[in-house]
């Protein structure tokens, strides 16, 4: 049960980022946990953390669902090209990866980003809030964004997306 309570919000929010709606994200959450539950041996600790494995499963499943939904829509209403669909999939994938990266980056980096972005503190105020030097505050903001920016790089075919550990 621990895996369900620990990862459910991660899975749901990743799926929501890709699919953009609650009911589809609910469905993905159920499918992912159903899979994890039925295939406890599928997880190989050598390939990275349980968390990154679950994130990878979620993303794969959500992107699959997105493609299916788009294809169904295309069949029904026409319009939309393959390029548009791929662009949409890429955007959704990058967004989900970014969410994952934010939740798994080192806490000091996340706190600095949180202060600067959500609470609109400048780096000097953030440094004071965190009781760190201004240099360190600048370093954390830059490093945090650098990590986040890897979500936008398009991985070569067949390799795992950044932020999810090694390829299966």
């Amino acid at each position: 049960m621990s895996c369900t309570t620990g990862f459910a919000s991660l899975v749901h929010s990743l799926a929501h980022r890709v699919l953009g709606e609650d009911s589809a994200a609910d469905q993905i959450t159920r499918e992912v946990f159903g899979y994890v539950w039925e295939n406890p041996d599928a997880y190989d600790p050598k390939q990275g953390s349980m968390r990154s494995w679950v994130a990878k499963l979620t993303q794969r499943q959500a992107v699959l669902r997105l493609r299916q939904a788009e294809a169904a829509q295309y069949a029904e209403h026409g319009g939309g090209s393959t390029e548009e669909l791929e662009a949409k999939v890429r955007r959704a994938t990058a967004a989900a990866r970014a969410d994952y990266i934010v939740t798994s980056m080192p806490a000091p980096l996340r706190q600095a980003l949180e202060l600067a972005y959500h609470q609109r503190r400048d780096y000097r105020q953030a440094a004071a809030d965190l009781a760190i030097s201004e240099d360190e505050a600048r370093r954390r903001l830059r490093l945090g964004l650098q990590l986040l920016s890897t979500a936008n790089t398009r991985p070569p075919e067949g390799s795992s997306p950044p932020g999810y550990g090694r390829a299966l």
């Binding site: 049960m1 369900t4 309570t5 459910a8 919000s9 749901h12 929010s13 929501h16 609650d22 609910d26 959450t29 159920r30 946990f33 159903g34 539950w37 039925e38 295939n39 406890p40 041996d41 990058a94 967004a95 970014a98 934010v102 980003l113 600067a116 972005y117 959500h118 609109r120 503190r121 400048d122 780096y123 000097r124 953030a126 240099d135 505050a137 600048r138 370093r139 954390r140 903001l141 830059r142 490093l143 945090g144 964004l145 650098q146 986040l148 920016s149 979500a151 936008n152």
Partner: protein, 409 residues
């Protein structure tokens, strides 16, 4: 680029009309100590390194107006920084206001319901049952893609009996029926219902024959579900029973195994027969994981002294050369298994009561783990087993033959 002359403290409103926060103060104590009659605003010259360090804060609009301007001026003349600035700006676009991370409580219960519907509540599977769990799941996955043609494909089961390889023809469905019938021995020991039917004899071979003849028509794919259900029930039951059940005796007809060994034996059979099935329909099938393979080999190594004794009783092997007190080290063969799951075992040669010991080693064989298992499954004749052999030839021959004698239908 701004010339130095233009670079004073910025005005409260810049050319875009955006109010800027005031420029950074001069350090107050400096001003006090060095009161300057006319503080000439000197442009702060920042190094590339400092400007670069500001890129994150700049992208988040979290630096002073004056720093912002300095960074932007720098970007027009430094391509690497400009690249990075662009990337970091884009990254800011990926941040978003967090939705509540608390799940809808209804969703949580739906997730759990879904899981529980698919697999029995999973308290941890005991370590010693994990090989059986894994092998049953792997075989089930193999069967997943099978159509009727595969289910009825002929399979030749091979084993070793009275010093020779024998075989028997059945189908893929027949093999699953065989696995189910023999798993029923463990089910019976746990007081569970036997899906193969009641009143079956207690030896593995007799049970299988009885089950095969009890079905009036050849077995079909319909056998998969009861087989699978039984494997799940066994796993669930031993998981709930926990540690204490490990030593429970499982009668196999003319001998008995503790439950943990019986499940290892079942895992071994499941893998070997999955391999038979895969070969019959020309599918690839991997060996078990190293951990599981090691346990299976260990079981065979522990049983070998008994198998040697049984051969002596049957007059197939010469009498023991040297008898020692029970529990004392005796003449031993060093069994060296290579590859995943490998290791070294010392097999007591003269009596199951003796203890294998490196100090009393008279012979040494080395072979690959999978090859050893195929030998123990009767799939490789002992004389053909690819083994490195050193030392007492009679001991080596006895151990190889005894290993093959562990096999059965």
């Amino acid at each position: 680029m701004n010339g130095p002359a233009e670079q004073g403290p910025p005005l409260p409103d810049d050319e875009n009309g955006t109010p800027r926060i005031p420029p950074p103060r001069r350090a107050a104590d400096d001003i006090e100590r060095l009161p300057s009659p006319e503080p000439v605003p000197q442009p702060v010259v920042r190094s590339h390194a400092v400007l670069k360090s500001l890129l994150g804060a700049w992208a988040l609009t979290a630096c002073s107006a004056e720093e912002t301007e300095a960074v932007e001026a720098h970007l027009t003349e430094c391509a690497p920084c400009a690249d990075e600035a662009l990337r970091l700006r884009d990254a800011v676009g990926l941040l978003h206001t967090d939705r509540s991370l608390d799940l809808d409580p209804l969703l949580r219960s739906r997730v759990l319901e879904n899981c529980l519907g698919r697999r029995p509540a999973r308290i941890p599977v005991p370590d010693w049952a994990s090989a059986y769990d894994a092998e049953a799941a792997r075989l089930d996955a193999l069967l997943n893609d099978f159509g009727d043609a595969e289910w009825h494909a002929p399979v030749r089961l091979k084993w070793f009996e009275r010093e020779q390889q024998v075989n028997r023809k059945t189908t893929v469905a027949g093999v699953i029926g065989h696995l189910m019938a023999v798993d029923g021995l463990v089910a019976a020991a746990l007081g569970l219902d036997d899906p193969a039917g009641s009143g079956l004899p207690s030896g593995p071979t007799a049970r299988t024959e009885a089950f095969w003849t009890s079905t009036r028509f050849p077995l079909t794919r319909a056998v998969r579900e009861p087989w699978r259900e039984q494997t799940h029930t066994l796993i669930r039951t031993v998981s709930f029973a926990g540690r204490g059940a490990a030593e429970l005796a499982v009668p196999y007809g003319d001998f008995a195994l503790p439950l943990q060994d019986a499940l290892l034996d079942r895992a071994f059979e499941c893998w070997i027969h999955a391999g038979d099935i895969a070969e019959a329909v020309d599918y690839p099938y991997d060996a078990p994981s190293g951990t599981h393979l090691h346990r299976m080999i260990d079981l065979a190594a522990r049983i070998l002294p008994d198998a040697l004794a049984a051969r002596r009783r049957a007059g197939l092997a010469p009498p023991p050369r040297q008898l020692v007190a029970a529990g004392a080290p005796g003449r031993s063969l060093r069994l060296e298994i290579e590859g995943a799951g490998g290791g070294v075992w010392h097999i007591a040669l003269d009596s199951p009561a003796a203890v294998g010991s490196p100090d009393h080693e008279v012979a040494h064989i080395a072979l690959d783990g999978v090859e050893f298992c195929r030998l123990a499954a009767g799939h490789v004749p002992p004389e053909d087993a690819a083994a490195g052999r050193l030392g007492d030839r009679e001991a080596i021959r006895d151990v190889l033959l005894a290993t093959a004698s562990l096999s059965r239908l």
